[in-house]
């Protein structure tokens, strides 16, 4: 039994899961998407922190900064979070469409903005807010179109049809 199944078999989890709020979007998908947003945000914020730490040590030397960033424990944390994110993302995609999940996780553009202002003291300007808004609407547009155009168009390509059908 996988860890995921174990968690779903806990009685408390089952009780929460049966709440009417989670009728439309099941709890485990909500959790998966929240975890995806948190991990995405963590990767970016910790990565920037690792870079800033090495900049303090080596000033402006790009190559030295690069090496010392990769040696920073914070960067290992980034790699770990990234792998966790990959595993979580594949899990989410087993239960929910990519076109549904993608725009929701792009909310991490907002959380990264907020956290970078709070933790890294970056300045957020109105122009930047406008830019992020455009990106969010753009991602939504890309995701709302059909998820599989391969089967209709590239039917001549025998490889692609067999793969896309799964």
């Amino acid at each position: 039994m996988s860890l995921f199944q174990k968690i779903r078999s806990i009685r408390f989890y089952k009780q929460v899961e049966s709440l009417p709020v989670f009728k439309r979007v099941p709890l485990h998908i909500c959790l998966g998407l929240s975890i995806a947003i948190i991990l995405d945000t963590g990767v970016q914020i910790f990565w920037k922190m690792a870079v800033e730490a090495s900049e303090k040590a080596h000033n402006a030397d790009t190559l030295m900064n690069l090496i010392s960033t990769f040696e920073n424990p914070l960067f290992w944390l980034v790699v770990t979070l990234f792998l966790l994110q990959l595993a979580n993302w594949l899990k989410v995609l087993e239960h929910a469409d990519l076109s549904y999940s993608q725009p929701i996780t792009s909310l991490s553009y907002i959380s990264v903005g907020v956290l970078s202002a709070v933790l890294l003291h970056e300045k957020i300007t109105p122009l930047q807010v406008a830019g992020i808004s455009f990106v969010l609407v753009g991602v939504w547009f890309i995701s709302k179109s059909d998820h599989n155009t391969l089967s209709t168009i590239a039917a001549s390509d025998s490889h692609s049809t067999s793969g896309a059908a799964q």
């Binding site: 870079v51 300045k123 957020i124 830019g131 969010l136 753009g138 547009f141 890309i142 896309a164």
Partner: protein, 118 residues
Amino acid sequence: MNQFFAILLLVCATTIEAAGQLCFKKKSTRSADGDLGSRLWLAGGICCMAVEAVVWTIVLQNLNVSIAYPMGSLSFVMVLLMSRIFLKERVQRDRWIGLALILCGTVLLGLNSAGSNS
């Protein structure tokens, strides 16, 4: 390093990211799993991710993460273009609209980073 060069590197990173995704898609659509070809596509995808990590670190040395990360959505645009060119996927009208909006957003973010000089 100036902001313009950093943004150029960011565009490189998103292109590499898209190339990596393309490799993974190529791997996943091969009929026989585990043959040499599919392993090569997988290796290609992983190499792309490794190179991207280096490029992205240099980008973060020069740009605020609150600007660089949303600009990274350019990778969606690159994936769209590459999957049209190399995978011959059909691109629907809504996706072209989304692509245009992301481009607008990215330009605004780019202008913002060129204006402030942090």
